[in-house]
Amino acid sequence: MYQSLVAFCKWLESTWWGTGVRTSLWVYPFIQLIHFSGLSLWLGTNAAVDLRLLGVGKKRQTAAQLSDALLVWNWIGFCIVVLGGFLLFSATGSTYVANPAFQVKLGMLVPLALVWHIVVQQKTRTWGQTPETPAAAKLAGLVELLLWISVVTAAVEIPNH
């Protein structure tokens, strides 16, 4: 299983886009910029709803209203961050899959945080009807914030391993 994953990474590295990102002077930092910009949009809109679930800005709108207003931007951010991440991964994927910080990030934390996010986003439609959110919603929002902080921490650790 691991060997076929490495073989897949080697193939990605040999594609025109993988080779292009790896060997370019300015495309690589530009792709990093795309990854981080998408990340900002994705995490920013996640954090806004999580904070609203925790009670921040409750006089302005309900959590359900905020989540609904941000939904499109939330998933646009997700698409951008995944596109940028995929291109960065294509450049040197075989070294990333061997990197413990990357394994923790993409093998465990990202799936966990993503599933949690989708569940919270669904639940916010019922939890977020009233200005005051239930205790379960507050806890869910806090946990999601902590999960994404963990993801980013693991990502920051990738170059150190």
Binding site: Y2, L5, L25, A98, P100, V115
Partner: protein, 130 residues
């Protein structure tokens, strides 16, 4: 139902995480930044690539055996600012290069980062570290 599927996905990801052999690759890289060694040998390949350029070289040890070393350098943009290009090093070049070796004793080192560039002599000519 859908949450069960998602749960399974997470479980599968967890199994992958535990089962993947981390030892398959050398890319650990906690380097001993307090230690600097000089290597003398022949370049076998120079990877001009992101996120790091890599120098691959053969070094003859005291017993006459070749030891293969991989030296991590900076990204292409950082190396370019120092005047490097993809043909700065070629297979067969004789080099004397300083490096901070890996702490785990493998033949891996770091010789350049955005913050520093260690001494490198190629075919008798020192490459100025700007």
């Amino acid at each position: 139902m859908r949450s069960y599927v998602l749960g399974l996905l997470v479980a599968a990801a967890g199994v992958f995480l535990i089962s993947s052999p981390t030892s398959a690759h050398h890319g650990l890289a906690h380097y001993d930044m307090k230690k600097t060694i000089a290597l003398s040998g022949t370049v076998t390949a120079f990877d001009w690539g992101n996120p790091h350029c890599l120098i691959h070289m053969d070094v003859m040890d005291d017993g006459g055996h070749f030891q293969h070393w991989t030296l991590e350098m900076s990204s292409i943009s950082a190396m370019s600012r120092r005047g490097w290009a993809k043909d700065t090093l070629k297979r067969g070049d004789q080099v004397i290069v300083e490096t901070h070796p890996a702490q785990n004793g493998t033949s891996l080192g770091i010789s350049s980062s955005p913050d520093f560039a260690l001494k490198l002599v190629v075919n008798g000519k020192e490459i100025p570290s700007r």
